[in-house]
């Protein structure tokens, strides 16, 4: 039941993705798979951000441990189209955060077969890069414990910002 729920979310997320991505796992470490499920594909210019659910699913037959304290995300963005696109072309940007000092503390969770760990990714929209209504692609590079997902232009999360006000 839970597995079906996860698959449903994964498929739901893929309504925002290219056909290549539909139904596919975006990252795997042995039997741990990562899925991204945007809660919404639209927002307004000026919004603080969009939330993406991040799911780590144990698709194997054995229990797996996962260090969820080690969660790090770097984002890449690209413009698909916006009000300035005809004249200025599409550009891109990234957000790379850093800390001073050691890594965050470990926090282990155990995932039984077909269990999923869920956390969030917040796509910040405060940068002037998102100052125009249009279509954008977010390409996160995510590490949770030993599960890594590299940013991919082909598997980016497409979202629309509208001029709501």
């Amino acid at each position: 039941m839970k597995n079906n729920f996860v698959k449903a979310i994964a498929l739901l997320s893929c309504s925002l993705c290219s056909p290549m991505q539909q139904g596919q796992t975006v990252a795997k470490n042995e039997t741990l798979a990562m899925y991204l499920a945007p809660r919404s594909s639209t927002g307004c210019v000026g919004d603080k951000g969009l939330i993406v659910d991040v799911l780590i699913v144990n698709e194997g037959a054995n229990e797996q441990s996962l260090d969820v304290g080690k969660y790090y995300a770097v984002l890449g963005f690209s413009t698909i189209s916006n009000g300035t696109a005809d004249d200025s072309g599409s550009g891109g940007m990234s957000i790379i955060p850093d800390r001073i000092g050691g890594p965050p503390a470990s926090r282990m969770v155990m995932l039984k077969p077909h269990e999923a760990y869920k956390t969030e990714l917040s796509i910040p929209l405060s940068d002037p890069f998102f100052g125009h209504a249009g279509l954008y692609t977010a390409m996160p590079s995510i590490t949770i414990g030993s599960v890594k997902r590299a940013a991919s232009a082909r598997q980016g999360l497409i979202f629309e910002l509208r001029a709501c006000k």
Binding site: D87, G101, M139, A150, A153
Partner: protein, 273 residues
């Protein structure tokens, strides 16, 4: 499939490029390639005419081009107001702007507390707390050369990027703190200096990704086929933009991956890679 006419523009030396009908003799065709692309006929801005008098005598503007308004050709989408400012002689130069360092102020009774507060300044996309942030952004300007063929009642326009400029700007946000003893100040500054050096390494990575993008753009094509030449050209422009956009997306992803890899390898600069 014979081209009815040609148009071309010059990326390096001219203000205008023209869309001209060719002579049917085919003398101006690129017989080597046998395709529909003809050699450039440069329009010397300082001379006010095309450099080939024979062409100038024979040229005819195509219907949708306004030769008295070269901007209508939309071949220099990004340098219309000052074409030469966007010219990239070899198409492989990233215009990297100086890194913008933005300092925010943290409080703290001593250096350790100030550094701890700095580590809580930013909330990342993952909900974690961070002290520094590097944000690269880039834009692309390009010049493309169009070519046209007609087959039956259909026009096919292909636009090919001949040169480009990738403009890259890196913004680095860092903490600052004052008020401690000289020793405490030195301890804080040491931590920030290490962070700054690490952020600068991200800047270098971003430059490498931008270089890759820059080198990948020349030769990028957009093609459109339609019953009319203007419609085919519009489709070619849209296709070209799509293809450039895909390369931009790949570059942004490249920056993200390079950043994540460096942070993982160095623990955000604490370790040597």
């Amino acid at each position: 499939m014979q081209p009815e006419f040609i148009y071309d523009c010059t990326p390096r030396f001219v203000y205008w490029c023209g869309l001209w009908a060719s002579r049917s003799s085919g003398k101006e065709r690129d017989t080597e390639s046998g395709n529909d692309y003809f050699g450039a006929r440069y329009y010397a801005s300082n001379m006010g005419r095309f450099m080939s008098p024979d062409w100038a005598a024979q040229a005819q503007p195509v219907p949708y081009a306004k030769m008295d308004n070269p901007q209508s050709l939309n071949l220099y989408s990004y340098v219309l107001n000052n074409p030469l400012s966007g010219v990239d002689a070899d198409g492989h130069v990233v215009d990297q702007k100086p890194t913008v360092y933005v300092y925010y102020t943290v409080s703290g009774a001593d250096a350790n507390e100030a550094l701890s507060n700095a580590n809580n300044h930013f909330t990342g996309a993952d909900g974690g707390h961070y002290a520094g942030m590097t944000t690269p952004s880039f834009n692309v300007q390009w010049m493309d050369s169009p070519s046209l063929t007609k087959d039956g009642g259909m026009s096919t326009v292909t636009r090919t990027i001949t040169s480009d400029t990738v403009t890259l700007t890196n913004t680095v946000q860092l903490p600052q703190w004052t008020g401690g003893t000289p020793e405490q100040q030195a301890a804080f500054d040491k931590g920030v200096a290490q962070l700054k050096a690490h952020e600068d390494s991200h800047v270098g990575d971003n430059r490498a990704a931008a270089d890759t993008l820059d080198k990948s753009l020349p030769g990028t094509k957009g093609t459109g086929t339609a019953p009319t030449t203007p419609a085919a050209d519009a489709a070619a422009k849209a296709d070209l933009k799509t293809n450039v956009g895909a390369k931009n997306a790949a570059a942004a992803a490249d920056m993200a991956n390079r950043g994540a890899a460096r942070d993982a390898a160095t623990d955000h600069g604490k370790k040597q890679p």
